[in-house]
Symmetry: C2
Subunit: 201 residues, 2 copies
């Protein structure tokens, strides 16, 4: 009952994450009634992002050039590397403005069930970075900011063991109660971590 091209668009939209059949239909009808330039802009940006975005040769973050803006920014603290799973985690941390060092993007976390071991991640690249840096900008701390779930914790444990022999401080982001949260609604594991990590006031 829809035209072929409309059904094709609904199908293509419905294949995106978090977009169900109803949303896909709603968006397709929106595009149908919106100016052609809007559809053109979206189509262009879809193709451009695939064409222009590469991974930084140093840290594995997304970049439009061979070396990303963060790696090539000499004003950033060259003694710290924050290890994250995905490029989007870099964005999340940057928005906090709490960190001014460098990053290393693993491209995932250790997940044996899905066949992802250390060799499938950008861990060798991290070791190379730590080994080849000059004396004046030697990395003194690696901050592991993998996700606080099973895969992320396994990755953190693996990294801390691997890097422990290099004489570099290896730290992990604190686990605890979310700010603005309610004690009553915290799960036991998080509350347990909050106790373990309690600080003197």
């Amino acid at each position: 009952m829809y035209t072929q091209s409309l059904q094709d668009l609904i199908d293509a939209l419905g294949a995106l994450p978090g977009i169900g059949p109803k949303s896909a239909q709603r968006i397709a009808f929106h595009i149908l009634s919106a100016p052609t330039e809007d559809a053109q802009r979206l189509a262009d940006s879809l193709l451009k992002v695939k064409h222009n975005t590469h991974f930084c040769e140093i840290c594995g973050n997304i970049s439009e050039s061979q070396i990303c803006d963060i790696c090539s920014d000499t004003r950033r603290d060259q003694t710290k590397i924050c290890v994250v799973e995905e490029p989007k985690d870099v964005g999340v941390i940057e928005r906090t403005r709490a960190y001014n060092g460098l990053y290393h993007v693993l491209g995932g976390a250790i997940d044996p069930i899905n066949g992802i071991g250390p060799d499938q991640l950008r861990i060798r690249g991290l070791l190379t970075r730590l080994g080849t840096r000059g004396d004046d900008d030697t990395v003194t701390e690696v901050i592991i900011a993998t996700d606080p779930n099973i895969e992320g914790e396994a990755t953190a444990t693996y990294l801390s063991r691997t890097l422990g022999t290099l004489g570099i401080d290896v730290t992990r982001l604190a686990s605890g109660l979310p700010v603005g949260g309610d004690l009553e609604y915290a799960d036991e594991v998080t509350l347990g971590r909050a106790f373990e990590g309690r600080r003197a006031l």
Copy 2:
């Protein structure tokens, strides 16, 4: 912190209805890691839908040809026209398989606050259709299926007055309790309509 092309894509996605900044970001990263063909397919379907989709010259429904599939299907009941607000309403009614007549898409509903009066809708086209049909397929019933809200009701009232003089049955879809619903959760207006429209068993 994102590359320009990634930010452009996030912005373009975020402008779609029902997609917030978080969803836009999630979809953009999905496209970044998905095969290029997927992005190409979505981009193509966006442009195709704008290029290939027109409005049927008779009923105003979307169509890839001048006359839509429903209007050109002679097996459909030519004596009934169902009046809806938007092309997507045709799809909704077709899926019920409860109706086998023709349609007329108004392109909206009467909404004086937003400057939409009868002249902004495809009402003249409906009158022309009703006036010019031959004797063998004369329309005997116009079913008004505008939305059961203020604008839709105003449109229904306007149409029933305008068409009342033509000697054609003008009907309105029943209002009442949704099937599978719970009496307890029905709003008063719907429950009131259900009483008004009660039927003998």
